[in-house]
């Protein structure tokens, strides 16, 4: 399964909408996640949903420095790459 950035961003949007139970305004990879009203718990729920979707694992340590949507997608990609290796 190949997943490109656009698909990942779409998936992020879909999952975040489900978890936060609200419509988000349009956002980009540079958007700061906390600007979307997503807090630590919602963030972990989102990570959990990503992990189940891709059957990957993202360690807590990798989540600590995340600020933007891009940061999160990068650790998801890293997880996907690690699972394939």
């Amino acid at each position: 399964m190949t997943t490109n950035r656009t698909e990942l961003l779409t998936l992020f949007h879909k999952m975040a909408t489900e978890i936060a139970e609200k419509e988000f305004p349009p956002f980009t990879e540079q958007t700061v996640i906390s600007d979307l009203g997503i807090d630590s718990l919602a963030m972990l729920e989102l990570v959990g949903a990503m992990e189940r979707h891709f059957e990957i694992r993202i360690p807590d340590e990798q989540l600590v420095g995340i600020t933007t949507v891009n940061d999160l997608l990068a650790v998801v990609e890293k997880g996907i790459a690690a699972a394939r290796a």
């Binding site: 305004p25 956002f27 700061v32 729920e45 600590v64």
Partner: protein, 612 residues
């Protein structure tokens, strides 16, 4: 596998001084002896090599750590802490996200008579500078000069060393020179064997992580022996031979630490620990662990029961059997009857019984537990006339009361033996049944005050022994009903936040009119949300909303539920210029608060999509 409850306790009797103290100080409850300190408690269990704690890490791997191994390891870690120059009564900060390493380091400090100060690890999305500052504030308030951390947490803890009273950092690896199973006889470290008395401080429980001047509750060993003995034996009627706790609660917080580490150690019960983050990623693991371990006791704040109901799919329940569970406690934040009902209904098909739900009330200042409902009682709620609550009267609703005007308040049960509970008005007069006032309590579980903070201590811990809880409640038919707070504290998912911190933070932002910010909590059904109202000094209000959301989320760790930008001079103030939070909240709720930006959520200035 486990030793039966009939087998003789491996006692502390072999230690001369401790033996007599054990006899003198231990309390007998329901025919069980409760050791006088947590150190005596673990020493008493040291011959148990097949009973202990199970720590599940974030990869799902399980480590069994017997009580015997914990005793040995605590002695060795205590010795190393001493060798690092820590003396009895010194404080040591502990920032360790891994459950096993946290508990072993914590117990190691206790064995050396060093006072542990647990600090929460950095959460994702939380800004590093703000986190480091918080660690520094807690270190300064506790006077800790050394911080114990794990290799994983080190990167974000070390910034506080040198910028606060913290002078040195020790990793859990340095405290554990023999990782993995310890080779028999290969130990060159002489375990520490310090005398600990019931009047010694066991640990400092910091109750709010975000204030510039955080308060650390001085919890004495005797407070813990009393409270743990009461909630485990009297409250939960623990059965040594088959009870087993299952918890994902954070260990730097009283409910997880006292409820599942200390209570079980005082009363010889096994516990299973899951990382909090694993629960947050998907609540199934909580239930799956109860199922797999045949767990009998679990506990969670209201929000977690709501989250489980919301997230669990039918397929998540396939194959689960929760019939082993006999206590599902609920505490640390306001409890919603509807949430408990939904949880019980959702999980009934997998053997969950609603009679296991145990609403309770407590706080760190009272060690942990203040009131419990009976261990075999069905949870119950009082239906009262909502509008009378504003007049501080809990009038029972009748069949004629319209459903929309009924408030449902969950019974938190009764105080423990040797403890008193009263409801008082603002002048301290004792109120009768169904009159709403501040909850005050007195008894041997009440902690020793706030560390190095006489002003805050005098305010809550009164000279006559009464603890003023700051919570509002009433008593009916002997049961306590908690219905609000005297102070404006905001509680989100069991964590306490002071509105002043958020107001100060937002008030410092460039376009906000300094000092003209009000923060308060609103009920969101399953937890509370923070609303920030700010007067803006400039005309770029639309850009301010996301900036405030971002700042509060980064530095406090919670995303505001709503941000209202209001015209200059419109927030209500007292004649002395103090913000009127309750008035603002009322205006917000009845729609009379004038807002510049009508819908904060749709007004965020975010760039156009690329790809979404």
């Amino acid at each position: 596998m486990s030793l039966s409850s009939e087998s003789a306790h491996p006692h502390a009797a072999s230690r001369g001084a401790d033996a007599s103290e054990f006899e003198r100080e231990s309390r007998v409850l329901f025919g069980d002896e409760v050791p006088p300190t947590l150190v005596h408690a673990l020493r008493r269990l040291r011959d148990f090599r097949h009973r202990g704690f199970y720590f599940i890490n974030q990869e799902g791997k399980e480590r069994f750590c017997s009580f015997g191994e914990m005793h040995d390891e605590a002695g060795r870690r205590g010795r190393i802490l001493r060798d690092l120059g820590l003396a009895k009564g010194d404080r040591v900060a502990i920032v360790v996200p891994e459950g096993d390493e946290f508990v072993l380091s914590f117990m190691g400090a206790l064995y050396a008579g060093v006072i542990p100060v647990p600090i929460y690890p950095r959460l994702t999305l939380r800004n590093l500078e703000a986190y480091v500052e918080t660690v520094g504030h807690i270190a300064d308030a506790s006077g800790a000069r050394v911080v114990v951390t794990s290799p994983n947490a080190r990167q974000y803890v070390e910034g506080a060393v040198g910028k606060s009273k913290l002078e040195a950092l020790v990793t859990t690896e340095q405290l554990c020179p023999h990782p993995g199973p310890h080779p028999a006889g290969g130990d060159t470290i002489v375990p520490i064997d310090e005398h600990i008395s019931p009047d010694d401080i066991c640990f400092l429980q910091f109750t709010s992580g975000s204030t510039a001047r955080p308060k650390g509750v001085r919890v004495l060993h005797r407070n813990l022996a009393t409270n743990c003995g009461l909630f485990m034996l009297d409250g939960l009627r623990r059965r040594e031979s088959w009870d087993k706790g299952v918890s994902w609660l954070p260990l730097f917080h009283d409910m997880g630490l006292i409820g599942f580490v200390m209570g079980p150690l005082f009363t010889n019960i096994e516990s299973v620990f899951l990382p909090t983050s694993s629960f947050a990623r998907g609540p199934r693991i909580w239930l799956e662990t109860i199922h797999r371990h045949r767990g009998t006791i679990t506990y969670a704040p209201n929000f977690a029961y709501a989250l489980a109901v919301k997230r669990l799919r039918d397929r998540d329940l396939v194959g689960l059997d929760l019939s082993s569970l006999r206590i599902s406690g609920c505490g640390a934040e306001p409890i919603q009857a509807g949430v408990l009902r939904e949880f019980a209904k959702r999980l009934e098909p997998v053997g969950f019984k609603s009679s296991t739900l145990l609403p309770s009330y407590g706080m760190a200042e009272a060690t942990l537990a203040i009131t419990f409902i009976g261990h075999d009682e069905e949870p119950s709620a009082d239906r009262v006339v909502a509008e009378d609550m504003g007049r501080r009267i809990a009038t029972p609703a009748t069949a004629e009361t319209p459903e929309g005007k009924v408030a449902e308040i969950v019974s938190c049960g009764r105080p423990f033996r040797d403890h008193e509970l009263r409801i008082v008005d603002d002048e301290g007069n004792v109120l009768g049944e169904r009159r709403v006032g501040q909850i005050i309590t007195r008894g041997p579980s009440i902690a020793d005050g706030y560390f190095d903070n006489p002003a805050a201590t005098a305010e809550s811990f009164r000279a006559d022994g009464w603890l003023y809880t700051g919570d509002l409640g009433y008593v009916a038919d002997g049961n306590l009903y908690v219905c609000g707070r005297v102070k404006d504290m905001i509680i989100v998912r069991g964590r306490n936040f002071y509105p002043q911190d958020i107001e100060w933070l937002v008030g410092e932002m460039p376009s906000v009119r300094r000092g003209n910010v009000i923060a308060f909590a609103v009920s969101l059904g399953d937890t509370e949300g923070v609303v920030v109202c700010a007067e803006a000094a400039m005309s770029d209000e639309a850009a301010l909303v996301p900036a405030i959301v971002s700042r509060v989320t980064d530095e406090v760790g919670i995303a505001p539920h709503d941000v209202a930008i209001v015209p200059l001079g419109t927030l209500p103030k007292t004649s002395s210029g103090k913000p009127q939070r309750r008035k603002t909240k009322q205006m917000y709720e009845d729609g009379t608060l004038r807002r510049i930006v009508e819908d904060a959520k749709s007004a965020r200035a975010v760039p156009q999509p690329d790809g979404v």
